[in-house]
């Protein structure tokens, strides 16, 4: 059944609410209204007030409550309305959810999933556009997942809800409706026109920790996730470069084997993300690639990223690391 990403995410929660009475879904506006992006639409009606409900606007409280529920034995799946608003919950995620199993030597754990829309390209300005994924990957005890299409979104979300470790599940909101490739002046084709919208209605999982090779190529390896997977594809086409593109899908645990295999083959690597550059996840990827593939690299690894500034409302397309900059980086590593 063709689904866009919102429908696929909704379906994942639907499946899990149905399968497991310990799964609860809550967050700001997620109950009756179904969420500002409609990801939880219909779930309260179907499963009742107690399975899917609104919360106070206190992200720290939402996550704290989810941790307590997790310690009891439930599997809460909570929504933070925008990733930009996850920071009030940072302490509960970093100091608590991430460390509970370790500090109690396995006595307690916090099997929560935190869904949150991230990334720019929707004229959201500095507080509706951020990509904070790198912060979470620095925190031992958290897993960080980012899907790039409806099929993966559903399978990865089900796998995340079933995880016994806390998962930060970042949803690239720019591609909820269709695979935006960064050509912002062209209309975006809806997901229904792409095979990844072919989403089974029932239960299935996409395992955490496995990258997907979304484009085979021999000249340069491009590491990307979320929206940038589609930008990278467009850039490779635009630049007419035989790029191999890996969609990482999970940043932590990371599919380092797939990365190393590809870079050893191509000898070149471009990393693309929307987050600010300094200490972004691209830094970790770059470090890992050079540690593992040093003797295979034929040119410096390039990072194509958001600039080290807040995301500016009107300069959105100057900020966004679109196909032009990505293609330029590919050409550059080919020359290197």
């Amino acid at each position: 059944m063709p689904m866009n990403m919102i429908q696929a995410l909704n379906s994942a929660m639907d499946v899990m609410l149905d399968r497991d009475p310990n799964v609860l879904v809550f967050g700001e506006d997620v109950g009756f209204f179904g969420g500002v992006f409609r990801a939880t639409e219909g779930l309260q009606k179907k499963y009742g007030l107690k399975r899917c409900f609104d919360t106070p606007i206190g992200e720290g409280g939402i996550v704290a409550v989810a941790i307590g529920m997790g310690a009891y034995g439930l599997r809460p799946c909570v929504e933070i309305q925008f990733a930009d608003y996850i920071y009030p919950a940072f302490d509960q995620l970093v100091s608590e959810a991430a460390r509970l199993r370790y500090r109690s030597a396995g006595d307690f754990w916090a099997p929560l999933t935190v869904r949150t829309p991230y990334g720019g390209g929707i004229f959201g300005g500095q507080t509706h556009s951020q990509s904070p994924e790198a912060l979470f990957t620095h925190v031992a005890g958290l897993k960080t997942v980012i899907p790039s299409n409806p099929y993966d979104a559903k399978g990865l979300l089900i796998a995340s809800i079933e995880e016994d470790d806390p998962v930060i599940f970042l949803e690239p909101k720019r591609i909820y409706n269709g695979p935006f490739d960064g050509h912002h002046n062209k209309p975006v084709s809806p997901w229904a026109n792409f095979p990844e919208s072919n989403v089974p209605e029932g239960y299935y999982t996409v395992p955490l920790g496995k990258a997907a090779r979304v484009r085979e190529g021999k000249d340069v390896t491009v590491l990307a996730y979320g929206t940038m997977v589609h930008v990278a594809k467009a850039a490779a086409d635009d630049a007419k470069i035989d790029a191999e593109i890996l969609d990482l899908r999970t940043l932590l645990p990371l599919d380092i084997d797939a990365i190393v295999e590809s870079v050893k083959k191509t000898g070149r690597c471009v990393i693309v993300h929307e987050a600010t550059r300094t200490s972004g996840f691209g830094a970790e990827l770059s470090a890992l690639v050079q540690e593992n593939c040093f003797y295979h690299l034929e040119a410096p690894i390039e990072r194509v990223t958001g600039w080290d500034t807040p995301y500016p409302h009107a300069f959105e397309w100057d900020y966004f690391p679109g196909p032009k900059r990505t293609a330029a980086a590919m050409r550059k590593v080919m020359e290197g």
Partner: protein, 410 residues
């Protein structure tokens, strides 16, 4: 199992959802004029009751009654009426501008105009405000140029915020209007710091902060009350209870269990609950709290009880989560109508004058709109140089940002 009942989880729900007929007749509304007005130097422990009633001045006939009547001169009232109307007309135009694709986003304050406008007039011109996105009335009452607001909303070449901020996230130090964040609640506790600084410097400027009913759930709310109480900061902590937080009714923030004004009690702060649609009550309560602050008696929490008569923003449709006729059923009326009625009852205003004023302001907003559009609208504007994107991240552009700017080729 024990000999006790099974526990069960309670999830609050609003009384009315789409399809229901809203009926607020059991809303506990004090009659105008009945609530006592204690001396400003009162000890907060003696006025807990004021957190549970509703301070009201304007009665149903439009008369100002009771001890909270601020006895304002007609000029001030007319200024208030004008600013509220201008806010409303401005909102209306900008909302439509968004619908016409001239910008990305807009948020109205329909039905809540008395809050910002009466408070702006009750405060001194140089008192500092830490507003939310729904206090555009502060800027308007302080005569901030409308065209600048529009330039900001359009992110155009004259935008004082250089195209960086979402529409309506204004900033004007000159007008005592702190930069709006977008992150809910954060400015509430910052205001306490500003007030502490003013007190530390022996200044005479006090500070006011606003937060929505929904946003009181953020930790920042608690920090504001805690730090404000401990250091007796000269600050007004305003909770705008407009009954809704996007699609969540105020019970989701705890409003069914106690009033937001009563949050003050546990911190030893006076808490006043005020009819937010009553221009005179809002003015009087603000003045009372401001006087306390100026006398080094510390903060006051004001719950401004009002109603968000429109959707949350241009991004939502309120009829999806509440009855379409709920705004009309709201029993506390409309702040503009109530003040108008009062002026007419006082014999200093007429329907004709009112109509003329509305026409004048409508024309004015239209004219300013044209002026602003000359500077461009979102995506159709000669923006400042892309170079500026890299400025103001730090006071001076550091080397790594200079390099990134060069990478972008600007």
């Amino acid at each position: 199992m024990k000999n006790t009942p099974a526990l069960s989880l309670y999830i609050p729900e609003p009384k009315y959802r789409p399809g229901d007929t809203p009926d607020f007749s059991d809303l506990n509304v004090s009659a105008a004029g009945v609530v006592r007005r204690p001396d400003v130097a009162v000890n907060s422990s003696e006025i807990h009751d004021l957190a549970f009633t509703l301070i009201r001045v304007l009665d149903d006939k439009g008369d100002a009654v009771g001890p909270w009547d601020p006895k304002l001169d007609v000029d001030t009232l007319k200024r208030g009426l004008r600013a509220m109307l201008l806010t409303r007309i401005f909102d209306d135009r900008m909302f439509r501008a968004q619908r016409q694709g001239k910008t990305s986003f807009y948020m109205k304050s329909l039905g809540e105009e008395a809050v910002a406008v009466a408070q702006a007039l009750a405060l001194d011109r140089d008192d500092m405000c830490f507003p939310t996105y729904r206090q555009q009335g502060l800027l308007i009452a302080r005569d901030y140029p409308l065209v600048m607001m529009m330039n900001q909303i359009y992110s155009n070449e004259q935008d004082p915020l250089k195209g960086r901020q979402l529409p309506i996230m204004y900033s004007s130090k000159e007008h005592g209007f702190f930069s709006i964040s977008g992150n809910l609640g954060t400015q509430f506790s910052q205001a306490v710091g500003w007030a502490m600084a003013s007190a530390y410097k022996g200044d005479d400027r006090i500070c006011a902060a606003w937060i929505g009913d929904g946003s009181t759930a953020e930790g920042d709310f608690h920090h504001a009350l805690t730090f404000g109480s401990v250091y007796r900061a000269p600050v007004l902590l305003n909770v705008v209870n407009n009954q809704w937080a996007i699609s969540s009714y105020q019970g989701i923030a705890g409003g069914d269990r106690s009033t937001f004004a009563s949050r003050a009690i546990g911190y030893g702060i006076p808490g006043l609950r005020v009819d937010g649609n009553d221009f005179l009550a809002v003015y009087a309560a603000t003045q009372w709290a401001a006087d306390r602050a100026r006398m080094n008696l510390g903060p006051t929490v004001l719950e401004l009880f009002t109603y968000r008569a429109e959707g949350h923003s241009t991004s939502d449709d309120p009829t999806q989560y509440r009855p379409a006729d709920e705004p009309g059923a709201w029993p506390l009326g409309d702040p503009v109508n109530r003040l108008t009625k009062h002026l007419i009852a006082r014999g200093v205003w007429s329907d004709d004058e009112h109509k003329a004023l509305v026409d004048e302001l409508t024309e004015y907003v239209k004219a300013v709109g044209k002026e602003a559009e000359k500077n461009g609208t979102l995506g159709n504007s000669k923006l400042p140089s892309v170079k500026t994107m890299f400025e103001d991240v730090y006071k001076e552009v550091p080397p790594h940002l200079r390099k990134q700017r060069q990478e972008l080729g600007v």
